[in-house]
Symmetry: C2
Subunit: 205 residues, 2 copies
């Protein structure tokens, strides 16, 4: 099993290659300079996926890019559903970074009748009550949730029932999902909590 920190770094290597103007080879030292990880860490991460690159010469950029695309599953465009067209949800809809990396927020759901039927940044807001039909017909497997904490578990249960199998959760609340569902949480206040811990205990990161 590949460590989760490695997976996180793979994505950053992939993005660095996307932005690299060079067309031929790149060394692990050059990749280290762009991404900030050590060259040794980069070589170690990439050996999980087989031998590529020639020692001393570096990696063929196209080959490495193709390999990472395949490993990360970004060789296809993923349709993503966003649930919650509130303050956070609407900001996320403006973010170009998702689409640039293969994640198209194709559907936005809300339950507020004032919002349903309106379009925000070119995406129509649909009624979450119709989520099941839309998720199935648009082949949506990933959802982002940005709803109030009281609604979070029920929203996730409906998403899972509709066929979603991966969830990025922004709600600071412990959501329970069946074992086959991939759930990642982003907890912004907890990250500030880590910073206050590091400041209080003067920990060097």
């Amino acid at each position: 099993k590949i460590p989760s920190m490695t997976v996180r770094r793979l994505f950053l290597y992939y993005r660095a290659l996307l932005e690299s103007k060079d067309t031929s080879v790149i060394s692990s030292e050059e990749l280290a300079e762009i991404t900030g990880f050590s060259a040794a860490q980069i070589r170690k991460d990439l050996t999980y996926f087989g031998q590529f690159g020639t020692p001393g010469r570096g990696y063929n950029i196209d080959q490495l890019k193709q390999k990472l695309i395949q490993i990360l599953g970004v060789d296809r465009e993923w349709n993503v559903a966003l649930v919650g067209a509130g303050n956070l949800g609407r900001a996320l809809l403006t973010y170009q970074g998702f689409k640039q990396q293969g994640f198209k927020v194709s559907t936005v759901f809300d339950k507020d009748k004032e919002k349903v039927g309106k379009s925000y940044h070119g995406v129509l807001i649909s009624d979450f009550a119709h989520a099941k039909e839309i998720i199935k017909s648009h082949d949506i497997r990933i959802a982002i949730i940005a709803v109030p904490a009281v609604a979070a578990q029920e929203v996730v249960d409906q998403l899972v029932e509709a066929g979603v199998s991966a969830i990025l959760n922004f709600v600071p609340y412990r959501i329970k999902v069946p074992p086959h569902i991939k759930l990642l949480n982003i907890d912004m206040a907890a990250e500030l909590g880590r910073l206050s811990y590091y400041l209080t205990n003067d920990v060097v990161l």
Copy 2:
């Protein structure tokens, strides 16, 4: 040195205790039910910080809360500066979760003359050109950055020079800081990248 995952969990234990209606004791099993981590993990995390709680009876909620507050450094209110009053910055300004956990976004900076001088959600937008004076006079040690990638490094350099020592970065770009600066990155697209990896390789989390 305490593992970073432990620190992240401590904050979630603290939040669970904040929300607990109970006033006397809580067992590691109860804390496990609320937070989703195992009782054994909870006990292990808390032993880094000394012996508290009585085996078989659980932890005194007030005592545990006080201890966590001290460890996490949230026994004070931290003044936080937000740089970038754009789509994401303005959404973050509406988030009550920061203040509830001891982080007051007291100052917002931007460089856009159209925004400077206006007030958003009760917070005045100041000109980033005056950041140094404001950061020093308000005793601001933590900053959140939500500016375009091209401006990120220069903004962070100015924050560090002004005396900020911890940064929560939302910009998908590798920022370099001196060793004494605590920097945490939130990379939303990379989290979706992890989900697509887990879906493609059918990894159980």
